[in-house]
């Protein structure tokens, strides 16, 4: 206690108020930069593939990459990594936000201290970042997943959703798109009976899928917009002996879920290239810190093997379109999911 007070007093005496920032920080070439890139969680093959893409770009451009984050996605863990990036004076702090608004104050403080902030994969609140590297629009991603389910169900019947966390904004955005699709006349025969949440935990997702299947005996489909829930839903349907009449689809990761397609347990699923997303994010960060782009719509920058890219409205860079993986095409994409180191 005494030590704490003494420390505090000492610091209060020697402290001076942080200087208020004036205008954007001066440009710095990426070669002289530390870049802090924070994933939602590190213990996740998807983000390991994102990292692979960032390392690809780093080899081409130079710079010092710190790819750090909490093992399991939590807000406090992300805030701590933002702050350490700020303290070591990272040129760019990039983040895939667990919670768009909760990380905003820490990002704002980092910007005030001279770091540039970009988001990738999952955006943060408006005004707390300069750029957002998006894999594809929420509208396209929601529709692509829904289309697979609707086709497999013949546009009729009951289905349920087993999602990730109930507070996961990106996934909730897709679910909103799917629900909006149900108003289209061609899907009038389809009915969403329940949206439940498996928190990206195998047990909770499995239990949620079992609950759905048992509480709704007429269920014909499960939409699982996250790989762990998809794996768990397939297992639940198989264990309950209803795999032949219940379709499972959603978001899958070819990195470790190609077998689901090859065995026909899942007709098709959606994702994008995480490796390209990491690669593009690193290029965007480099262009941003060098002052080549500022986040205004219409600016263009070179993104290596991905060619020239354009900043869209609201500082958003859309990488491309969702990819629908099937047993016929999945093998062609495997290098997009390599996880090294």
């Amino acid at each position: 206690m005494g030590a704490a007070i003494a420390t505090a007093a000492l610091l209060a005496l020697t402290a001076c108020a942080a200087a208020e920032p004036s205008g954007p920080p001066p440009p710095r070439p990426v070669q002289d930069c530390n870049l802090t890139m924070i994933p939602k969680n590190t213990d996740n093959p998807y983000f390991a593939a994102v990292r692979t893409g960032m390392v690809d770009a780093q080899r081409e451009l130079g710079g010092d990459l710190s790819f750090v984050g909490p093992a399991a996605g939590d807000v406090t863990g992300q805030i701590q990594r933002i702050q350490s990036g700020r303290q070591r004076g990272s040129c760019v702090i990039g983040i895939s936000a667990v919670d768009s608004s909760a990380v905003a104050p820490a990002l704002d403080a980092a910007r005030a201290d001279g770091s540039r902030v970009i988001s990738y994969d999952a955006d943060v609140s408006d005004g707390s970042r300069g750029l957002f590297v998006n894999m594809a629009t929420a509208d396209e991603l929601g529709r692509a997943q829904f289309d697979i389910l609707a086709r497999a169900m013949g546009n009729t019947g009951e289905f349920g959703i087993v999602s990730s966390q109930s507070t996961a904004e990106v996934t909730n955005g897709w679910i909103d798109v799917m629900i909006a699709q149900l108003d289209e006349p061609e899907y009038s025969g389809m009915r969403l009976v329940r949206t439940s949440y498996g928190d990206d935990d195998a047990k909770k997702s499995y239990d949620a899928a079992v609950a759905l299947l048992r509480a709704h005996p007429n269920l014909r489909g499960i939409m699982a917009p996250t790989p762990i829930a998809m794996e768990a839903s397939v297992k639940a349907a198989t264990d309950l002996g209803v795999a032949d009449r219940v379709v499972v689809t959603g978001l899958g990761n070819p990195g470790n879920q190609t077998e689901l397609l090859k065995t026909g347990q899942v007709p098709a699923y959606v994702l994008w290239s995480p490796r390209d997303l990491g690669y593009l994010t690193y290029y965007a960060a480099a262009a941003y810190t060098a002052g080549e782009i500022t986040g205004r719509a219409g600016e263009t920058f070179d993104a290596g093997r991905l060619g020239s890219q354009t900043v869209g409205p609201g500082g958003e860079i859309v990488m491309g379109h969702p990819i629908t993986f099937t047993q016929d095409n999945v093998d062609r994409y495997l290098r997009d999911f390599e996880t090294t180191g």
Binding site: A3, D99, A109
Partner: protein, 346 residues
């Protein structure tokens, strides 16, 4: 000292001369913790240029506010031989009620009042179930852990509230003008000092220790055991509510998932601080030192880009070391003493 009497009733056989000089609230364990704090500070300062800075103090102290506040009542409760595992859920529920009140147009202070009241009621429910119904606090608060967290989800579902009063976000995020001392730190120091003095100098503190040592005896000696325990649970709820609201200000967001899993960290800090799970033992100074130590280590490891795996292992080793090292040294000393006294008799 004969061999027969060295039972488990003397946990720290400090030499009598030392024991007379050391106050009850600053024993060998507190000295050990202080040494560890000094060691951690020295190592962290030597290995990271960003550690021993005013900015790092400000950032770490601001970030630790919610957790630090909750440690205070948990220490009191555990001294009294009870536990409250629902604190992190009360933390979320109170913030939820506060956030809904704010977005419903209620003013800042009435909303805070409502949030704190929620915490008080949540604590009272725990207190009534433990004291008046007679259920063990561990299981009651595992139940209310689910209930209160669940109610937050019922109220907010998947929504978040980010439009919070600027006064609150300033308090929870900023420093006192022209310094690097966060507002929240000042508030915590006030609370902590009051709690420490009351526990170790006041009649209430003596009563809490007596209850924790032996509730039956405390009751016979005229202490209002039930009322005090009920009060401690309400205290726990109120402080968890304040912590939850402050944390919502810190992240500018109220969500039903705020603070999930924090209860184990709170309990862990209190235990590292030397307070027994079965009551009656420990000091508040130890708890504060433990809090300081954990905060320093977290900051150091984060600045060093340590992976979560490493952070977990260091935290775990610290907890195990916190009990194993003193136990080993005690054994060594005892066997040495035994040998010496055996030699002198012959």
């Amino acid at each position: 000292m004969t061999a027969q009497t060295t039972g488990r009733q003397s946990p720290t056989p400090v030499p009598a001369a030392v024991r007379r000089r050391l106050p009850s609230w600053f024993g060998t364990w507190e000295i050990t913790l202080l040494a560890l704090v000094v060691l951690a500070v020295a190592l962290a300062s030597a290995t990271s240029p960003y550690f021993a800075t005013g900015q790092n103090f400000s950032i770490s102290a601001t970030g630790a506010l919610g957790l630090s506040l909750m440690v205070v009542p948990m220490a009191w409760l555990m001294v009294a031989g009870e536990i409250d595992l629902s604190v992190a859920s009360t933390f979320a529920l109170s913030a939820t009620v506060f956030g809904l009140a704010v977005s419903g147009g209620l003013g800042t202070w009435p909303s805070i009042g409502l949030g704190v009241l929620t915490g008080a009621v949540a604590g009272l429910v725990n207190g009534l179930l433990v004291v008046d119904v007679g259920l063990p606090s561990l299981i009651v608060t595992i139940g209310t852990l689910g209930l209160y967290r669940g109610l937050s989800y019922v109220l907010l579902e998947n929504r978040g509230i980010s439009d919070l009063p600027p006064g609150l976000t300033t308090f929870a995020q900023e420093n006192l003008p022209a310094t690097l001392v966060p507002y929240g730190f000042v508030a915590f120091v006030v609370v902590a000092v009051a709690a420490a003095v009351l526990l170790h100098r006041g009649a209430l503190g003596r009563a809490v220790f007596a209850i924790g040592s032996n509730a039956q005896v405390a009751r016979f000696s005229g202490l209002r055991v039930g009322a005090i325990k009920r009060g401690l649970f309400v205290f726990s709820g109120v402080v968890a509510a304040i912590a939850g609201i402050a944390y919502a200000g810190y992240i500018s967001t109220v969500r039903a998932s705020n603070g999930t899993g924090l209860e184990l960290i709170v309990v862990g800090i209190v235990l590292i601080g030397g307070i027994s799970m079965y009551g009656g033992k420990g000091s508040f100074v130890g708890v504060l030192l433990a809090l300081l130590l954990v905060t320093i280590l977290t900051s150091w490891m984060t600045l060093g880009d340590a992976e979560t795996a490493v952070q977990y292992m260091v935290t775990g080793l610290l907890m195990v070391g916190a009990v194993v090292v003193p136990a080993l040294s005690r054994r060594l000393r005892m066997s040495r003493e035994r040998r010496r006294s055996a030699g002198s008799v012959r």
